[in-house]
């Protein structure tokens, strides 16, 4: 069996907390790429990263880091 160098494996994935649950994502994934992967449309959601709102204009430059806490919300029926 051919073993890849350990750093190769390690760099591929990282863990974030998405809506309260652990999730493995690509290392340093950008917010738009993550939303795409989750099949979510940016204009229909709002995102909070480590308790700070992410301005929609800044999505492109937002890269996620290991351990980031992300909340992605949308509007649902309510009184």
């Amino acid at each position: 069996m051919v073993r890849r160098p350990f750093y190769f494996e390690k760099r591929k994935k990282m863990e974030i907390i998405l809506n309260g649950e652990k999730k493995e994502v690509k290392e340093n994934v950008s917010l738009p790429d993550l939303l795409k992967e989750l099949d979510l449309t940016p204009d229909k959601v709002a995102v909070e990263l480590n308790l700070d709102i992410v301005d929609k204009n800044n999505y492109d430059k937002t890269l996620l880091k290991e351990g980031d806490k992300l909340e992605i919300v949308h509007f649902v029926g309510g009184g």
């Binding site: 998405l18 809506n19 309260g20 649950e21 999730k23 989750l38 099949d39 979510l40 229909k44 959601v45 709002a46 995102v47 909070e48 308790l51 709102i53 992410v54 301005d55 929609k56 909340e71 992605i72 919300v73 949308h74 509007f75 649902v76 029926g77 309510g78 009184g79």
Partner: protein
């Protein structure tokens, strides 16, 4: 006759309808849409929740309720702390550009009564951040005044606990709140049937907000129509000015000229 100049005015924005409705608990988005239409509502409340990552159904509520046609009022329902409520309001503003918020800071799961200290604090924070704040509070005139002084655009006292259908339990407190207030007063929660909404409006409330009263009825669409009429009837009766209550009869037919 309805008067076309009788508007509900909140923070400089005019609305023809005095019935505000929630969008929770309906059987389908289609039913939600129809109920809003039949209720004649212009302002509708929505909640802010985590997207379901594993089960992403393609349809969303706002595909059915056109934000160009209806005024969307996000709520902070389910928030038990100032921090949660403030974060939720900020998310709603970022998510939809809505800077109005129906502010709830809930104190207890069983009664869903508001945590007034938290509510006041959250109101101050959000007013400072430029939000138009509509706090849901209990029927306490002093609290209502404090919220108004903190910059609330409207104060929304409950008629009875959320979803209880108990009606307007303390009309005298609502009356005192109305007399003391210089912002619009919206009776929010407790309405179980049409007469409850009429009573709130007859007291002089500027509007009524309800969700379960319509969505939980056996036929929500019929109830939406009933509530539409009830709010209008109550408003007209209030403006018409009711007769005083008297203990004894006053004949409505002439007393003179009766045959002997």
């Amino acid at each position: 006759m309805e008067n076309n100049s009788d508007f509900l005015e909140i923070a400089g924005k005019k609305f023809k309808s005095r019935l505000i409705i929630g969008t929770g608990k309906y059987a389908s988005f289609e039913q939600t849409r129809e109920a809003i239409e039949k209720a004649g509502a212009e302002i509708v409340t929505v909640a802010v929740r985590r997207v379901n990552i594993t089960d992403k159904s393609k349809e969303s509520l706002l595909d059915y309720i056109d934000p160009k046609k209806y005024f969307i009022l996000p709520n902070t329902a389910g928030c038990y702390t100032v921090e949660e409520a403030v974060r939720t309001a900020r998310l709603a503003r970022e998510g939809g550009g809505y800077d109005w918020v129906k502010l709830e800071v809930i104190g207890d799961e069983k009664t869903l009564f508001p945590d007034n200290a938290g509510l006041l604090e959250a109101t101050k924070i959000l007013v400072k951040e430029g939000f138009t704040v509509l706090p849901y509070t209990n029927d306490d005139p002093i609290m209502a005044k404090k919220l108004e002084d903190a910059g609330a655009a409207t104060v929304m006292p409950l008629g009875a606990p959320i979803g209880s259908g108990l009606g307007i339990r303390n009309p005298y407190n609502i009356k005192i709140i109305l007399e003391m207030a210089s912002v619009p007063i919206v009776v929010d929660a407790g309405v179980g049937t049409a007469s409850d909404a009429t009573i709130a409006m007859e007291l002089g409330a500027d509007a009524v907000l309800m969700n379960t009263g319509i969505a939980g009825a056996k036929d929500p669409i019929k109830m939406a129509i009933a509530m539409n009429h009830a709010v209008k009837a109550g408003r007209l009766a209030y403006r018409a000015g009711r007769i005083p209550k008297k203990l004894y009869a006053t004949a409505s037919s002439p007393i003179e000229g009766v045959i002997e």
